[in-house]
Symmetry: C2
Subunit: 310 residues, 2 copies
Amino acid sequence: MLHKHRSSGAAAVKVRAAPAAQRIEAALQRALSLGEGPEGPPLLAAAARHAVFPGGARIRPQLCLAVAGACGEPHPALADAAAAAIELLHCASLVHDDLPCFDDAATRRGVPSVHSAFGERIAVLTGDALIVLAFQALAEAVEPITIALLAPLINILGRCVGGPSGIVAGQAWECEPRVSLAAYHRAKTGSLFAACTEAGALAAAADPAPWRHFGLCLGEAYQVADDVRDVVATAQALGKPAGRDRDLHRPSSASELGLGGAIEYFDRLVVRSIAAIPECDGAPLLRALVRAESERLVPQVSVRDLALAA
Amino acid sequence: MLHKHRSSGAAAVKVRAAPAAQRIEAALQRALSLGEGPEGPPLLAAAARHAVFPGGARIRPQLCLAVAGACGEPHPALADAAAAAIELLHCASLVHDDLPCFDDAATRRGVPSVHSAFGERIAVLTGDALIVLAFQALAEAVEPITIALLAPLINILGRCVGGPSGIVAGQAWECEPRVSLAAYHRAKTGSLFAACTEAGALAAAADPAPWRHFGLCLGEAYQVADDVRDVVATAQALGKPAGRDRDLHRPSSASELGLGGAIEYFDRLVVRSIAAIPECDGAPLLRALVRAESERLVPQVSVRDLALAA
């Protein structure tokens, strides 16, 4: 049943996806150029571009723009900057997550990871530089009419990226002897999805609070899908090594619930996310986006086979 | 002659130093608490405090508050936040600079470095978390009357910390096959001192532009002093391993100019810094602060002996 919904959603979303994708790439280009200049060290600049381009699905900035659009989007430049800032923070976390002391991943998105291509030192610095650029991009985009939105936007991003429950905290849970799977997933993935929905609403001068729960649900679904894909997908399909969660003994819903249980949990989270979308003019489009993404995230053949087998 | 100036300056500064030091520690405590909570991972929170407390001389936030004070300081809460943000960014750079892939320093400020005490993974994340906290601290301190100052403050911090010529870029120059010593020092140290003077002025609603040159001169002097101390001081006096620049083949004014030449260059930079202080009510106090610091930075006996021997 869910599969049918998913397919119709994918078609509906494509109409809007192209311009949003262009806006995101343009905003990322503008943000990266803030950190570049002829006087700068060439390797750092090259590594920052390697970390950001070409991107993956850009699901986080897409979500941010989709929520801003659903809220009427009176300030598109600020929404673009918020979307770019979130993607830069995501890319920074991937660069540091791939480091030898964490996942020691040689590839990312099908190409050498930043530390593989540029060395460990440049990889540490690239992550740092991307975090700084995220906040710079927001500040650069502020206009007199949106000046009051900057501080709350930074607060949202800070809370969703830093401690006690942002993505940095999520990664830090991997260093603790005990961790609750829900707290770990919420911090490592859910928090940045909440940043997308909250910042998207706020960049449109709407109240971000009703949008938080939607982002958290969606983020948890995304993390469960990632756990599932880590088990069932090949390295080629992932663009990074498969089976890393198991190899690194990381908390994973696939190992905790079993593969079939994790897939069922994913489907429940997708339904819950769709129900959490606040009523607004853009709600139908958002629901379609979520359904389309749910189809993309979990490999279809494997899912169906495994669900039947369970 | 310079030595006499320095001694009188030290006495003059002490009158004001105590309250500034208290303000800085209180602002850092407030900033760190933004990233803490019972739901957070304990090691990350402990490591962040380990990286920030107890501090060194807090010369950067002292400079920021001194410039804000010299400009009349109409918004002390914002000046405190700017000072704390700069110190957090400085601490973040120290944590990442100490990592095994960079300096591999086992100690810092006389105690184990963050990666020695908490492991490499937590050290990477601690640096990330402190960068995020710096921007959060600024956003939290903004009031309706200072709302227009937030974006330019973030731009100053971003430029002085990220690429192409902030401290992250400075550290990245260590990974390049060729580097100009002036560009390296300006990025690695001068830039953050420029952030202190520019942000201090801006937090007082003054034009930051005239204050940039003073910060850059002072930063260069500080870096040269650091190079000198790396050669002449013992590890005990430094609180970190001595002779690291030489061991790591890092660009150093002591190796490029010789020790005597580096000390002469330092003295010229101190004079140049003092001359670069814009005229304002607080200029005499700032001059005294610079003289007092110059005395503290370069070990007195070694300096005099070496100067006589040269």
